[in-house]
Amino acid sequence: MTTQARPIRVLIAKPGLDGHDRGAKVVARALRDAGMEVIYTGIRQTPQMIAEAALQEDVQVVGLSILSGAHLELFPRVVQELKSRGVDDVLLFAGGIIPNDDVDAIRTIGFQGVFGPGTDTNDIIAFVRDNAPNRA
């Protein structure tokens, strides 16, 4: 019996209190149109909710979108919640309004990709395809 090819599964989530999810939805659609299965959780997610959703959905990739400025507060907590659940093999990326000065700090805690406004969605698709961990 043949094993079916597995699409890449991605969780797109918005931590914190800002309510604008246009960017998150644009990215979700672009990844879907590139053949991926995108779980979209909606706005105002706590770090615990994001980590628990990533675990239950067994995603390979987690993308966070944030516009509120609380990224240095919330992103480390998302990483911590993922680790405490044993979810240590997912690709992390972030988008939204993240000042250049903060990008290094975010990369250091494990976000391999940081995409600001004006990013071509094809760049995000290529990033995910190239870096998503393989689940053979």
Partner: protein
């Protein structure tokens, strides 16, 4: 994680093992099939409920409301929410979690979104396999949500012990279309969004359809609900319990289990046959020439299909001789 770790993890309540095993079953891997085979004897305890209805009927919201009501009654809940994959990109946006955000922070709930993946009739095989994993993982209630749009989806609903059909006010034509197949699989019907005009008409239409249906000893109740406010949801859960008692009760239990097992075995056998026959046909290279003849109208599609199946049979027979 190897299959031992997956099996032991699931039985021991490890959510990560459960999530990983679901991915294997979804992709129909050898590990997934082994885990299912080893756990099947541990299933049969959960109340497995299918929730089906057209897109926009409020299924996700209703599933969330049922889950909350079940939690109030002290039961743990596993949810499988199936959404269609795009036939073009094969990708999907799975948004059921949006309607059930609060349930994510509840340890007694496990929600898994699933894309239909258009996998040759394998959807019901995969979705019921995932439901079996949740059952083996000791969830008291397993809810399977599907868009009731095609044979695959009906089959998924059919694999549940109790199937709830969700209809809406003003969906007259929609109710008409339900005559084709869905009516026969539903044991409970619910008119959701019953605070909108036309709810009573929808109830009457469903009653009229039921009156001409070929019913067995169970007569499907027709209920009203407003999933958004949870109105009517306790009554719906009572009705589900009542049907579960009916299928587990002494008089009908064996017959219901036998019918259910037969549906499952046939659905999976059909999916495997479909996959293997197509894979043999593709490998034989016979399709292209036959398709060309039909396209040129030098041959009719029915005889081309028969010729193709004859090729598959010959190929299987010679494989049998080689073994």
């Amino acid at each position: 994680m190897d299959t031992n770790a997956l099996v032991e993890g699931i039985l021991g309540g490890n959510r990560r093992a459960l999530a990983r095993a679901i991915s294997h079953v979804e992709a129909n891997t050898a590990a997934g099939r082994e885990v299912l085979a080893r756990l099947y004897a541990r299933t049969g305890h959960a109340q497995v409920v299918g929730i089906t209805g057209s897109a926009g009927a409020g299924k996700s919201t209703l599933v969330g409301a049922i889950a909350r009501e079940q939690r109030k009654r002290g039961r743990t809940v596993g949810i499988v929410a199936v959404d269609p994959s795009s036939p073009f990109s094969h990708g999907a946006i799975l948004g059921d979690r949006i309607r059930m955000q609060d349930l994510t922070s509840d340890d007694g709930v496990f929600l898994r979104s699933m894309a239909s993946r258009g996998n040759l009739g394998g959807l019901s095989e995969a979705a019921t396999g995932v439901a079996d994993l949740l059952d083996a993982a000791h969830f008291d209630v397993v809810l399977i949500e599907t868009v009731g749009a095609g044979q695959d989806e009906v089959e998924v609903a059919n694999a549940a012990g109790t199937t709830v059909l969700v209809a809406n006010p003003g969906g007259g034509d929609e109710v008409q279309s339900m005559k084709a197949g869905l009516m026969e699989v539903a044991q409970i019907m619910v008119v959701n969004k019953a605070d909108l005009a036309g709810a009573d008409t929808a109830m009457t239409q469903l009653r009229a359809l039921l009156s001409i249906a070929d019913l067995g000893p169970w007569v499907p109740p027709i209920l009203k609900a407003v999933a958004r406010t949870a109105e009517g949801v306790p009554e719906l859960v009572d009705a589900i319990d009542k049907h579960q008692e009916f299928i587990r009760g002494s008089e009908h239990a064996h017959e219901e289990r036998r019918k259910h097992a037969q549906r499952q075995v046939i659905a999976i056998a059909r999916a495997i046959l479909h996959r293997e026959a197509l894979s043999t046909a593709n490998a034989s290279g016979a399709i292209a020439a036959l398709v060309e003849e039909v396209a040129e109208r030098t041959r009719d599609p029915r005889s081309a299909a028969e010729e193709l199946l004859e090729t598959v049979r010959r190929e299987w027979a010679s494989q049998g001789e080689r073994e």
